[in-house]
């Protein structure tokens, strides 16, 4: 199970990287970046997973006394919570900039933007 989640995360990162490098349309590149973002989050979560343990929430399934033996690692989950929120912010910024670029040149084709090319 941990290997499936980890492998899926890695594959998603590769798909996102491939999409961002091969697509010419800025919107498609942004979508590719969010796919890679999801892959990174999945990898971090998968690293914290431990077989046969419960989510790090103390309730009927996990008694407060033997928490250490019963819960999975809570730190990656807290990290991914942060990463998802920052990911939303980054995506919103990319979309706003993409809109500005479209307003300037009336195209979203990345090969038409040559100002920073050398």
């Amino acid at each position: 199970m941990e290997y499936i989640a980890l492998a899926t995360g890695f594959i998603l990162i590769l798909i996102g990287l491939f999409g961002a490098l091969t697509n010419r349309n800025i919107l498609r590149m942004i979508v590719s970046f969010t796919v890679a973002d999801t892959g990174v989050n999945l990898v971090i979560i998968a690293v914290g997973y431990m077989r046969g343990r419960a989510a790090p929430i103390i309730d009927a399934a996990v008694a407060a006394a033997d928490t250490v033996a019963r819960v999975i690692d809570p730190v990656p989950q807290a990290l991914v919570l942060t990463a998802i929120v920052i990911g939303v912010g980054v995506t919103a910024l990319m979309l706003a900039y993409a809109y500005k670029l479209y307003e300037k040149k009336h195209t979203l084709d990345i090969s038409k933007f040559t100002e920073l090319k050398w």
């Binding site: 490098l21 819960v71 809109y99």
Partner: protein
């Protein structure tokens, strides 16, 4: 064609690194030192049932403050970048009619979605969930309103008032921690209560509720900014 070749080469290289990582990965069978500390001491230190919430709000509360600041900056920059392109209220753009199903559905669902969002962030210390998730759910209600009526006007003043008030209260509660408890953002300024009850875990539910309001307001302001942008 050459560039496509290099892309494949790069993907193959990164893929090989990932494959090596995957082949060498050995799952842990015990919690590492940091995780063990949190698992052992969360109940005694914070009284929260959700260990992730205890880490996010209390142990690493300063990081959360930074994260909320990043989110605020993002919302502000999106507003700034798109400011020149927004329509000025008087002339309305032509949009296709949304359809009876969406309009009626939105009227039914928006209060329920808002209620769910509030439930998620008020119970952040007990159940999976918390301020960020609840805030995102609140903003999804705003998104549904925008889908049902794209020319609807939202009060920017109200959104930024909610946002800045909750930010100030968040920092203020953190400051009270210095005066009445162990340090900045310490949740023990309120009694810890019984584990598993709504009014427990000290200031965590209060802080998480204001984080939820703040995140919801920030996401909403991004959505409203993007939606109010005119076609060039």
């Amino acid at each position: 064609m050459v560039s496509r070749f290099f892309v494949f080469l790069l993907i193959a290289g990164v893929g090989a690194i990932f494959a090596a990582l995957l082949a060498g990965y050995v799952p842990d069978h015990e919690l590492n030192l940091t995780a063990r500390y949190y698992a052992e001491n969360t109940v005694r230190d914070t009284g929260a049932a959700n260990i992730v919430a205890a880490i996010v709000v209390t142990y690493r509360g300063l990081d959360t403050l930074g994260e909320v600041t990043v989110l605020f900056l993002t919302a502000a920059i999106v507003g700034l970048v798109l400011a020149g392109s927004q329509h000025q209220g008087t002339h309305r753009r032509e949009v296709p009619v949304s359809g009876e199903l969406l309009v009626t559905g939105a009227r039914l669902l928006v209060p329920l979605i808002l209620l769910l969002g509030v439930y998620v962030f008020v119970n952040g210390h007990l159940t999976p969930g918390g301020g960020f998730q609840g805030g995102a759910i609140l903003a999804s209600a705003i998104l549904l309103l925008l889908l049902a009526d794209p020319v609807r006007e939202f009060s920017h003043r109200l959104i930024s008032a909610i946002e800045s008030t909750s930010g100030l209260i968040f920092v203020g509660i953190g400051g009270l921690g210095i005066l009445y408890a162990g340090g900045f953002l310490d949740n023990r300024i309120l009694p810890l209560g019984t584990l598993g009850e709504l009014f427990s875990a000290g200031a965590i539910p209060v802080i998480y509720s204001f984080i939820g309001l703040k995140v919801g307001a920030e996401f909403s302001s991004m959505l409203v900014d993007l939606s109010e942008t005119e076609e060039p």
